[in-house]
Subunit: 146 residues, 10 copies
Amino acid sequence: MTKIDMSEEILSAKKNLGLNWEEIAKKVGMSPVFLTSAALGMNSLKKDDAEKLCEILSLPSEVALALQAFPYKKWDQTIPTDPLVYRLYEVVGVYGETIKEIVHEKFGDGIMSAIDFSLDIDKEEDPKGDRVVITMNGKFLPYKSW
Amino acid sequence: MTKIDMSEEILSAKKNLGLNWEEIAKKVGMSPVFLTSAALGMNSLKKDDAEKLCEILSLPSEVALALQAFPYKKWDQTIPTDPLVYRLYEVVGVYGETIKEIVHEKFGDGIMSAIDFSLDIDKEEDPKGDRVVITMNGKFLPYKSW
Amino acid sequence: MTKIDMSEEILSAKKNLGLNWEEIAKKVGMSPVFLTSAALGMNSLKKDDAEKLCEILSLPSEVALALQAFPYKKWDQTIPTDPLVYRLYEVVGVYGETIKEIVHEKFGDGIMSAIDFSLDIDKEEDPKGDRVVITMNGKFLPYKSW
Amino acid sequence: MTKIDMSEEILSAKKNLGLNWEEIAKKVGMSPVFLTSAALGMNSLKKDDAEKLCEILSLPSEVALALQAFPYKKWDQTIPTDPLVYRLYEVVGVYGETIKEIVHEKFGDGIMSAIDFSLDIDKEEDPKGDRVVITMNGKFLPYKSW
Amino acid sequence: MTKIDMSEEILSAKKNLGLNWEEIAKKVGMSPVFLTSAALGMNSLKKDDAEKLCEILSLPSEVALALQAFPYKKWDQTIPTDPLVYRLYEVVGVYGETIKEIVHEKFGDGIMSAIDFSLDIDKEEDPKGDRVVITMNGKFLPYKSW
Amino acid sequence: MTKIDMSEEILSAKKNLGLNWEEIAKKVGMSPVFLTSAALGMNSLKKDDAEKLCEILSLPSEVALALQAFPYKKWDQTIPTDPLVYRLYEVVGVYGETIKEIVHEKFGDGIMSAIDFSLDIDKEEDPKGDRVVITMNGKFLPYKSW
Amino acid sequence: MTKIDMSEEILSAKKNLGLNWEEIAKKVGMSPVFLTSAALGMNSLKKDDAEKLCEILSLPSEVALALQAFPYKKWDQTIPTDPLVYRLYEVVGVYGETIKEIVHEKFGDGIMSAIDFSLDIDKEEDPKGDRVVITMNGKFLPYKSW
Amino acid sequence: MTKIDMSEEILSAKKNLGLNWEEIAKKVGMSPVFLTSAALGMNSLKKDDAEKLCEILSLPSEVALALQAFPYKKWDQTIPTDPLVYRLYEVVGVYGETIKEIVHEKFGDGIMSAIDFSLDIDKEEDPKGDRVVITMNGKFLPYKSW
Amino acid sequence: MTKIDMSEEILSAKKNLGLNWEEIAKKVGMSPVFLTSAALGMNSLKKDDAEKLCEILSLPSEVALALQAFPYKKWDQTIPTDPLVYRLYEVVGVYGETIKEIVHEKFGDGIMSAIDFSLDIDKEEDPKGDRVVITMNGKFLPYKSW
Amino acid sequence: MTKIDMSEEILSAKKNLGLNWEEIAKKVGMSPVFLTSAALGMNSLKKDDAEKLCEILSLPSEVALALQAFPYKKWDQTIPTDPLVYRLYEVVGVYGETIKEIVHEKFGDGIMSAIDFSLDIDKEEDPKGDRVVITMNGKFLPYKSW
């Protein structure tokens, strides 16, 4: 079973059961962001988590195996077109060098890891319009010299 | 005076005075991220802030005028090469559709604004290696139908 | 049911019934432009509107569900080839910086939203050749500093 | 004198005189959008208009000659990065096929001319936030068969 | 029936009947170039012409309907690879600015329409090798100011 | 002297003398299209023609030498942006396969040469709007087998 | 039968019969390079040669017809990735301007035809490692002026 | 001295002395193709050859040093535009897979080296038009397994 | 049987038998890297090795034949997106010119062969986190002059 | 002083002193690869190392400061053209998925760091031709779930 078929099975079961990612993630005991990324084929789950997810959604063991497979992370569009995703790309374009300046000032020469990394999405209620809060948390990796 | 010349003047004065962005930003009374992005030519400053910044760095009024000009936000590399900036691009590639799923689940059809938006960068101390924490906060904009 | 299948069903039913977008939109009580964009899979409809559209076209409830799904807005060709669509791209190329100048002059630093946005298409009769009138109306979003 | 030098001279004179495009356009007797596009080098002016503009800005006759030269309309970035200009590109991506449907329904097979064309930009005041109104008006050109 | 299926049906019927485009075009009463472009899905035919073409090729009415549909003109390769088509692209590259100079000298600022346009292909016999003669004829469209 | 400097000298002399390409070409005894393409650096002239052109424009012998140099034909924009030049690119996109069909039908498998080739531009007066007539004439080159 | 199906049939028959291109080409009476290029769909064969090839490989007449069809020469990868093919691309990159210099020195302004052209591939035995010898032979086409 | 300056010096001296590549190469005792490629900055010369070349052209020792520097072989245009160079690119596109078939048939799995490689250009006189003969000779490198 | 089908068969058999590449490679008597690259369709195996591999995995002789076919090495993404593969691309970007400097210093003008080449991957245990060690070993090929 | 000026100064001083990277690196007490990458502007040096390097090459303190600046790692060509560098890109294309398979088999889901990373280049003498040995050593970073 490919990751693509796996995702379709999960999305379809989720819809039929009327569950949302937050509820599912709570039951599995993980962050909704990580769980969703695994369900969409962009991360792998450990055996236990994969099986728990399949149990919740009444999906067969093949799906659990597909969830454990290590993905080839691939995206098609160099520049994303969907407005929600594009705005994130735009933020990288507008603030990329600024982030570089500030990280270097605070940490020295190095980068924020995208592997030892977590991401959360919250809703901040606001009378002038609710706000999306995205928090990225990655280990600082200093450049090694040798 | 172009934004490029302005940035060079600011970076040079900052280096000579031995100041960092945090100190300068505190004196101006702004976030270091926004101030840096304006100094790098990616945002404009209000008159007062521009003048205060020039006062701190002993820069002429031309720089203050250039800081107030509305920038044409332009980046050259469709896919950034610098590892620190690329990792941010990679995060958008890996988690873009996940963010879309979760935002739609929490807010409905719409996007996070990249205009009514702020960004903060913090250091989280950790014995296993300090962590970079980037927080994006943007107004949710629902799609309008008509 | 994918958005692509949904669009095919709608276009086919519309053709068989001999209706045009203006007539359908009037019955649903929406703008023909927004309704068409939803039928082509580029916007989502609210439950009531989706069901009304399906009723008019005698389409099953699956189509109504697909119309309510939040779309991933994707276009394939970086530069469109169809002459009608290309001319719009050309207008952005030729007048983009001019629009930037005038909007900044009238409103300050910020953008026209493409989300809190509406678009209308009218026919202006003219003995020297009728004219297409496209009106875009988007909320001005000022850049926020912080 | 190249169009690039010409634009710099005009922008500099305009700034020094503290004039805006609306005021200048009124004096020349043209639309501010067209006048700005000519000043930015994307359109040519007739002799009289070019000379009137130079008179208003106290610019030499070379500038007037450069304004009359027929431009090579060139833009560098296939996909614009500046958020204000990108949103216009996005509108073409999201609504391109919709506009095609509606124009074909109202006019038959053909296109909206981008040559026999005008463009206006207005401000619509709104307590929930002012709105940018962009109106494109182009002659419908039916495809010719032979 | 899509334009692609339509083209296949027409090419197959044409081959089986042993007809060539010149003969078919003569019977329909149109130029062979325009008729071929419509058969390949790049232009639409009026109802009468579409039906006459289907009669000649003994094709069903679905094909006639597909011929009347307004096409989305799409080409895949930014730079064509087939040598015959590439040479035309090369001519535009080598002579593009020359054509611009001469057209502007003869007509003023404006363009040759590609919509109010016709194209003919002739054979000029020559003892040193026959020659292909391609004639493009498009309405001059002067830039409008406003 | 580079071809770029050469072109600038020629364009400047032509402007100062108030001549147009047709007049110059007549005096040299060549087609205005070919002469313009050589003046813009896209073709080379024979010694006599180069010297005659320099005589007419009172240009030094360096320019005549540069005109005789064999050019590296280079264009920067894969897809041209100027509307006049883009329309020619569009014609290749829309009619490329049609031209291939008709040429193959009339001549067999082969191409129209872009080297043993000439191009003319004429004005066809028309009360509904004058028309641009571009005629390409290239030797048919049959594919050789071996 | 498409060129792609044709190629598959030929490659499969060739494998089953245990023949190689040299043997087949000898029997048909052609160069192995041209015959292979036709079998791969990049050139067309004359009726006799196509039928002889099908006789040798015991293939049906449809294949012979497909071999006679004039191909649309299309390649997918702007820069080839296969190392053998890439090295040829690299040779063009490294030696392109050198070839231009030498050809112009020997022949004047013009090109080597890729249509009136043949290509041979030979093996040169060498104790230090055999060598591949590729010989291109194309008619010189002088640029025409007019 | 950069390779670019070196090339300019050599081309200029060669022109002033009225020498051609064949004559120069004969005097140095090398192939004109290799010598030209080194003069254009795409290959390096051994000390003796570099000095001999500079002696012939009366150029200073800096040029000889620049000729010995190992070049970074760089070309700007993914797809060359100059017709002479493009035809070579086209040959790779049309015959690439054919060359692969024949080389594999004659030599097994491997490639023709572009490093242990030589290239010659000859003129074949022909009453129907002289022919350009390009011969590539590269060592066959079999893929190694391990 | 295509290389793609072959790879699927091998990966499926490997999974069902619960074998890993190291074990399989040991049994075949080859390096796991080369064997994996052949199984993924990027290299060909000799007859004996191909048959031994199929015996181990109980696969039919068709798979053995497909393993012996000489591959067309093709990759889709100019810049790989998967983080593991991208990091290798990044290493080439960051250290490419450095490697060039050092190789030229140690060996003279030439390259490291990617054909007469082997690659190994090892695990270096480290209490601060295990390390991946990739060793490339390629024959130095000096540029030939002629 | 920019990194580009810094590199020029270092390369020029190194040439004049007749030193090579190995000798310089030994004196500084670092790996020649890392030192070269810093000299070419792709890595930063610690204060002491920067000053030692400048002492060895008799360069002013500005160079030492430029060596300590944190670089923006930028490369221009998506696909490198120089044959030595291209071969490394090719290795990533051919063996990328193989490396992914083997690393995942040995380490689990994760990547080899390109930051906590070192690279060595050695010469392996071989009577059949010396060999280049490139060793990459990067920390394995397992994907984190949360």
